[in-house]
Amino acid sequence: MGTTLGKPFAGFFHQEEARIVLFGLGGTGKSSIMHKFKTGETLTTTMPTVGLNVESVKYKDSNLCFWEMGGQQCYMWFPLWKHWFQEIAGLVLVVDSTGRDQIEETKDFLNVVIDEIQGSVPDNAPVLVYGNKHEVPGAMSASEISNKLDLTSLRKKNWQRNWHVQSSCAFSGDGLHEGLDWLLKNAERM
């Protein structure tokens, strides 16, 4: 998805932003990833995100608007997620590659989110999974995350849903651009 021109006057002053939602359990690195895209710097003084956070990012020739869902309250405010997930271009699930004991909960969480946003989000909105903190020894690989999350079931539910797992490191930025490039390329099909 590139630059889209809205109304003539509106387009003259500001361009439409593609909205991307980051979600995942607490402590997986969502804020660090968003901060990396926003400033190019490493976020070192992070605190848990309560509620949500929004950042506008100019990425290559696209204007993106990242909406980060606080991971500490993943089930609490589901009724409100309809508002936040409207008209989004893609979903980004951030997984802690070192958190093997949380991968089962992450799978359940992902499925609940996908079910909840039915009707609010376009069926072909792509799902990008960042396997964050992959540089830590003993971290899960992309294929391992894919298997544990049972991502192939996403397409069984909806044949248009594309997904991709990208190992990443929010500190060094490793893998972040590759993942976002994949997401934008697949979002352009909308």
Binding site: F9, F13, G26, G27, S31, H35, K38, T39, L43, T44, T45, T46, M47, P48, T49, V50, G51, L52, N53, V54, S56, W67, G70, Q72, Q73, Y75, M76, W77, F78, P79, L80, H83, W84, Q86, D96, T98, G99, R100, D101, Q102, E104, K107, D108, F109, N111, V112, D115, E116, Q118, K133, V136, S153
Partner: protein, 776 residues
């Protein structure tokens, strides 16, 4: 005078007539002067009456209208009574004026125009008759002797007629003069006395009217005096309030400027959450709406010009934020109603309270609501570099606002952040999230909108547990403050470390990595706080945990009394007001480097392994925790073989390979056969195996939290899951399966957990069966 003595025509008669005429002329002059004075007096009376009437009319316009709030506020009903009195007095004055006109002026005019004029006319006719009579007499006496008789008779007749006319006019003159002479004795006295009587009546009526009003007047004067004193008191009080308000504004400005610094250190990120007690204080009074904060903010227009509009914003304690655009008319703005009268307890003014209670009509105000449930607040505006900006962002609309000073900006941001939290929490309570929790368990199935009775009960229990979690955890010794900086009321925790902390320190803990600290929220992560976890925290707590992690700090505290202060300064514990980087440094040193842990250097790791094995067998939670923290190496996966000489445990012979394989089969173990107890053979068992045999869920939880290998196999190839199944502990088996235990692992006999379970008979626990089959 006694009157005419003699009516004959004689010089004395003439003299008398002249004298009377002189008096009449004098009287005429005086009457004219009196006439002028009376006219002037009448004019003055008329003007006075008109003036009083005009005064009454102006008073009526000023404040005597009925059902008019402004009128009541300025004492309209009282003034209305006075207006009636003034109008009455005006009518009295008018009557007096008319009396002067009719009784005095008219009679005076009549006297001058009738009586005095008549005298003048009589004099003129008399003079004419005298002239005719003289002429006739001269003709008659001038006749000669030889005049004919008829002429003489004719002239004689003329003379007689002239004489008769003369006499008649003489009598008329005398009569008119006598009339004047008689009237002047009573005419003026009567008129003037009548006027004086009118004056008397006028003043008496006025006096009577005002006498009746006198008590009322005194009452009103008294009330006015009291109101004046009360008003002075209120003005003094208001001046004091203004002074306090200005003082408080300065204090708030200083506090806000000091408070703003830490949040800016981190750069462009969400402002930190409001301490929970503030949020709770706001939540307590949810029954009635109160204004949390209100004031003017500059709101950037959505139009193309993007100019700033000044709007009045109101934030109430229900978490509602709205702003006004005042478009009311001028009269609406000036309307208000009086509250002072309502305070007076006098019965005379009781009827004013009814009017006071009526509401004044207000001008129309445009009111716009901002939905905070889906909003967040940020301390910057991306495309402007103004210092006082902040944004409220929601998926539908973004509001760019600007405060009028730095302190006000921070105050708005803090209170709106608290309001967002309130809205989200209240929204959560109003909704029924049980279906979402239920959906998690049946994630592959379709979403179900119907809740069974059991699910609703489960939801209620879950809510109750959520409410109790905070209370339970904070009651543990040391848990009322943050384990790192002593900030009050911590609401974050580390699952494996067993400590509570504030939101700032929880950020540092998350950076340590999940292998060191697993951070969860007490209020937001509702699923985590199962009874086993709560029991584990009860056994630990900030007090005990810090006695292990900060043991060196405690020793230094003791040494400081002996004068040793050099090392104390380098490892002092941060306070809640310290910089984030200072807390980060302290926490990293505390947990990553274990800088404050007192090492047992005298003992080797083998001794630590033996001690933790004993602690696990005796189920001493605190000892296990302390030993894990103090150990240099990882002792969480200690095995029975590490602490036992195995040569005497199983007979080792040089056997054929087939014999070696058979020895690992648990069914071939003679020790297990003899005692008929699977747990008796401990060769190759880990701490987790022992915990599963013990049946202590807290012990199991502690080992799992510290990263015990959940799939480690013993001498006979059995995992802890095997041991749970063999001993019939289904609850533990389910815990292990949910935490990632793999039931597909085969033991020394070549059987998986499911097969071993079936070997023991039908699996009656359906949940356990599903978990075993699902992970296969």
């Amino acid at each position: 005078m006694a009157g005419f003595i003699n009516l004959e025509d004689s010089p004395m008669f003439q003299k008398q007539v002249f004298s009377l005429e002189g008096t009449s002329d004098e009287l005429k002059d005086r009457c004219q002067k009196l006439y002028k004075g009376v006219k002037k007096f009448m004019g003055a009376l008329g003007e006075a009456s008109t003036g009083v009437s005009a005064f009454a009319d102006s008073l009526e316009e000023f404040g005597a209208g009925h059902d008019d709030p402004v009128s009541v506020s300025i004492g309209g009903p009282v003034i209305s009574k006075f207006i009636n009195t003034l109008r009455e007095l005006s009518s009295y004055k008018e009557f007096l004026r008319s009396q002067v006109e009719h009784v005095l002026l008219e009679r005076l005019t009549n006297f001058m125009t009738v009586d005095l004029q008549e005298a003048k006319e009589s004099r003129r006719r008399f003079d004419k008759a005298v002239h005719s009579y003289d002429q006739a007499r001269e003709k008659f006496v001038s006749l000669k002797k030889n005049t004919r008789g008829d002429i003489v008779a004719e002239l004689e007749e003329d003379l007689e007629n002239s004489k008769s006319a003369f006499e008649k006019s003489r009598f008329n003159l005398v009569n008119s003069l006598m009339t004047i002479e008689a009237k002047k004795k009573y005419e003026f006295l009567e008129s003037i006395s009548a006027i004086m009587d009118s004056h008397f009546k006028y003043f008496k009526l006025g006096y009577d009217l005002l006498s009746q009003l006198e008590p009322y007047i005194h009452q009103v004067l008294t009330y006015a005096q009291q109101s004046k004193e009360q008003s002075k008191i209120e003005q003094d009080r208001f001046a004091q309030r203004i002074q306090e308000f200005r003082t408080q504004s300065e204090l708030d400005s200083q506090q806000a400027s000091a408070k703003a610094d830490p949040s800016d250190v981190g750069g462009n990120h969400v402002y930190r959450a409001i301490p929970r007690k503030n949020v709770e204080a706001n939540s307590v009074s949810t029954a009635d709406k109160e204004v949390t904060k209100q004031g003017y903010l500059l709101k950037r227009s959505a139009s193309l010009r993007a100019d700033w509009k000044r709007r009045f914003f109101v934030l109430d304690n229900h978490g509602s934020l709205y702003y006004y655009r005042n478009t009311g008319n001028k009269s609406a703005k000036s309307q208000h109603y009086y509250s002072g009268l309502g305070e007076h307890s006098s019965g005379v003014f009781g009827r004013f309270r009814t009017r006071h209670n009526r509401s004044a009509s207000q001008g129309s105000l445009d009111c716009n609501m901002i939905d905070l449930r889906t909003s967040l607040i940020k301390l910057d505006a991306e495309d402007t570099d103004l210092r006082l900006c902040f944004r409220i962002i929601s998926p539908q609309k973004t509001y760019t606002l600007q405060a009028e000073n730095g302190a006000d900006r921070m105050d708005w941001v803090n209170k709106i952040t608290a309001a967002i939290t309130i809205r989200l929490n209240s929204h959560f309570l109003q909704q029924s999230p049980a279906r979402y929790l239920d959906k998690k368990n049946t994630s592959s199935g379709p979403a179900t909108e119907n809740l069974t009775l059991n699910q609703k009960e489960d939801y209620n229990q879950r809510l109750n547990v959520g409410d109790d979690v905070l209370t339970i955890l904070r009651e543990i010794p040391g848990n009322n403050t943050c384990a790192e900086c002593n900030a009050p009321d911590p609401d974050w925790a580390s699952l494996n470390l067993g400590v509570l902390m504030c939101i700032e320190c929880s950020g540092v803990h998350r950076n340590l990595g999940v292998h060191i600290s697993k951070v969860r929220s007490l209020t937001l992560d509702v699923k985590v706080w199962e009874p086993t976890i709560l029991d584990l925290f009860r056994n630990l707590g900030n007090g005990y945990c810090n006695s292990v992690w900060e043991e060196l700090l405690h020793h230094l505290d003791d040494d400081s009394e002996k004068g040793s202060t050099d090392t104390l300064a380098s490892v002092s514990k941060p306070s809640s007001e310290d910089w984030f980087t200072l807390k980060e440094k302290y926490i990293n040193g505390k947990y990553l480097e274990k800088a404050l842990v007192v090492k047992d250097e005298r003992e080797a790791n083998s001794t630590a392994s033996s001690r933790i094995w004993e602690a696990v067998q005796s189920r001493n939670i605190r000892d296990i925790y302390r030993l894990i923290v103090k150990a240099d190496a990882n002792i969480i996966n200690t095995k029975f073989d590490d602490i036992t000489d195995l040569d005497v445990y199983h007979h080792h012979h040089v056997d054929a390979p087939d014999e070696v394989k058979k020895r690992h089969d648990p069914n071939a173990c003679q020790r297990i056969k003899n005692s008929n107890e699977a747990r008796n053979c401990l060769q190759g068992c880990s701490l987790l195996h022992v915990a599963c045999q013990s049946g202590d869920p807290i012990l199991l939880e502690l080992l799992l939290q510290f990263g015990a290998d959940i799939n480690m196999r013993d001498y006979h190839g059995r995992t802890p899951l095997h041991h749970c199944i063999a001993s019939g502990n289904n609850a533990f088996a389910k815990v292990l399966l949910r935490r990632g235990a793999r039931p597909s692992i085969e033991d020394g006999g070549g059987l998986s957990v499911l097969e071993r379970a079936m070997e023991m008979g039908a699996i009656t626990d359906e949940e356990l069966f599903l978990l075993l089959a699902e992970c296969q």
